[in-house]
C-alpha cells in the first residue's frame, strides 16, 4: 500500500503515463482516499496544461512552410525538372538528327554551303572505282540499265561521296572498262564540286 510520500515521489511518472498499469492502479487507489494528494495531482496537471496552452498558441508562419518545402523536397524537384527538360531536348535533338526529314534538311544545308564555297581547282582525288548505277540500285532501288548498256564507272571517295567522271580521252577506260571496277585509283584533274564531277587529266590504278 502506497503512502503520501511514495505517491508524491512518482507523481511525474503518473501524470506522464509512465507508470506500469499495476502501479497506476495503486496510485489511483490512494488518490481516491487522499484529498491532499488529489489536489497535488490537480495542480501538477494544471501546470502541465498551462504549459501546453502557452506553447501551442504559436502558429507556424505560412511563409516558413513554403521556405522549408522549397529548400528540401522542392529543391530536388526543380533540379529534376531541369534535368528532365535537358534530357528531353537532347533526346529530341538526337532523334531529330536521325529522322530522314531533319537529315535531308541538314544535307540540303550542307549542299547550299558547298555550292557557295565551290571553286573548280586542280586536285588529286583518290577513291574506289565503282559503277554509279549499281550503287544507286543497291542504295535506293534505282532501276539500273547496266545489264543492257554496260556499267558506268564513278569514283567513290572515302567520305562516301560519289563523283561523276566527266567524259574525255583520259577518262574513257575509267568509265567504260568494267575490269577496273572495284579498284582503287588516284585521279589527277579538276573537281567541280557543284556538279559533283571530276575532270580527269591522268590517273593511276593503285
Amino acid at each position: 500500500m502506497m503512502d503520501c510520500k511514495n505517491i508524491r515521489e512518482i507523481l511525474d511518472l503518473y501524470v506522464d503515463g509512465e507508470l506500469s498499469p499495476e502501479a497506476s492502479v495503486q496510485v489511483e487507489t490512494h488518490l481516491a482516499e487522499c484529498v491532499a494528494c488529489r489536489n497535488t495531482v490537480a495542480r501538477l496537471n494544471r501546470l502541465r496544461h498551462a504549459v501546453k496552452t502557452a506553447v501551442k498558441q504559436y502558429q507556424l508562419p505560412a511563409q516558413l512552410i513554403d521556405q522549408v518545402r522549397q529548400s528540401t523536397v522542392f529543391q530536388w524537384r526543380r533540379a529534376t525538372t531541369w534535368v528532365l527538360v535537358a534530357a528531353t531536348v537532347l533526346l529530341v535533338a538526337v532523334l531529330g538528327f536521325f529522322s530522314s526529314q531533319v537529315r535531308a534538311t541538314v544535307a540540303d544545308g550542307l549542299e547550299v554551303a558547298a555550292f557557295h564555297l565551290d571553286d573548280s581547282r586542280a586536285t588529286v582525288m583518290e577513291g574506289k572505282l565503282l559503277c554509279r548505277d549499281c550503287l544507286l540500285k543497291d542504295e535506293y532501288g534505282y532501276h539500273a540499265m547496266c545489264p543492257t548498256r554496260g556499267h558506268h564507272g564513278s569514283l567513290q571517295t572515302s567520305d562516301g561521296k560519289i563523283w561523276h567522271i566527266l567524259d574525255g580521252d583520259a577518262s574513257e577506260e575509267l568509265i567504260h572498262n568494267s575490269k577496273l571496277l572495284g579498284r582503287t585509283v588516284r585521279i589527277h584533274g579538276r573537281c567541280f564540286r557543284r556538279a559533283s564531277s571530276v575532270e580527269v587529266d591522268s590517273y593511276e590504278v593503285l
Binding site: 508524491r8 501546470l47 502541465r48 498551462a50 504549459v51 501546453k52 506553447v55 516558413l64 521556405q67 529548400s71
Partner: protein
C-alpha cells in the same frame, strides 16, 4: 533510396511535424530566431534523411536535430548554454505544493517563467507536456539517461511553478515590480 521515394517519405514523415518543431523552437530561441532554427533543422533532416530509422518516432528524431542545431548555434555565437545544474539525478517529492498556489488558473506569467528555466529543463518539459513524448524518446532527444529526464521534469516543474508564483506575486504587488527578473538563456 531514389530521390522520388525520399521526397515522398520526407513529405509524409517529416514535414507534418513542422508546427511542433516551430512551437518548440519559438520557446527555445524566441520569435526572431525560431524561423532560422526550424529551417536549418529541416535542411539537416533532409540531408541525413537516409539515416532515419522509419520504425522510430520521426518527431523525436527531428527534435534531436533541432536541439543539436540550437546548441551549435549557441556555440557559434560564443554564448554559454545554460545547461542543467549539478545534482540533477535527485527527485524530490511534491511537498511544497500545499499552499494556495496553482489552485486557480495559471496566469500569463507561464511564458515568462518557461523562458527563465534552464534550457535543458525547459526543453524536457516542452517535450513531455506539449509534445507528449515518452521518457525514452525524450532521453534520445536529449542524449541522456531516462533518470536524468525524470529528475529534470521533476525539478523543472517545481522551478516553473515557483517562477510563476513569483511572477504573479510581483505583478500583484505593483506595476514597478512587475518586471520579471529574467535569467538570460
Amino acid at each position: 533510396m531514389s530521390w522520388t521515394r525520399r521526397s515522398r517519405l520526407f513529405e509524409r514523415d517529416a514535414l507534418p511535424h513542422l508546427p511542433a518543431l516551430y512551437r518548440v523552437a519559438r520557446q527555445l530561441a524566441g520569435a526572431a530566431a525560431a524561423d532560422h532554427l526550424v529551417q536549418e533543422t529541416f535542411l539537416r533532416a533532409w540531408k541525413y534523411f537516409e539515416t532515419f530509422d522509419s520504425t522510430t518516432n520521426c518527431r523525436a528524431w527531428l527534435f534531436r536535430i533541432l536541439r543539436n542545431v540550437w546548441i551549435n548555434r549557441w556555440r557559434k555565437t560564443h554564448l554559454e548554454l545554460p545547461l542543467a545544474e549539478m545534482g540533477e539525478e535527485q527527485i524530490e517529492p511534491y511537498y511544497d505544493w500545499e499552499d494556495e498556489f496553482l489552485r486557480e488558473e495559471i496566469s500569463a506569467g507561464i511564458e515568462h517563467a518557461l523562458s527563465d528555466l534552464p534550457a535543458d529543463y525547459r526543453l524536457t518539459i516542452l517535450l513531455a507536456d506539449v509534445e507528449e513524448l515518452t521518457y525514452e524518446e525524450i532521453a534520445r532527444v536529449m542524449e541522456c539517461q531516462i533518470g536524468t529526464v525524470m529528475s529534470r521534469l521533476n525539478r523543472g516543474r517545481k522551478m516553473l511553478a515557483r517562477f510563476v508564483r513569483n511572477y504573479d506575486q510581483e505583478r500583484s504587488s505593483g506595476p514597478k515590480s512587475a518586471a520579471f527578473s529574467r535569467r538570460k538563456p
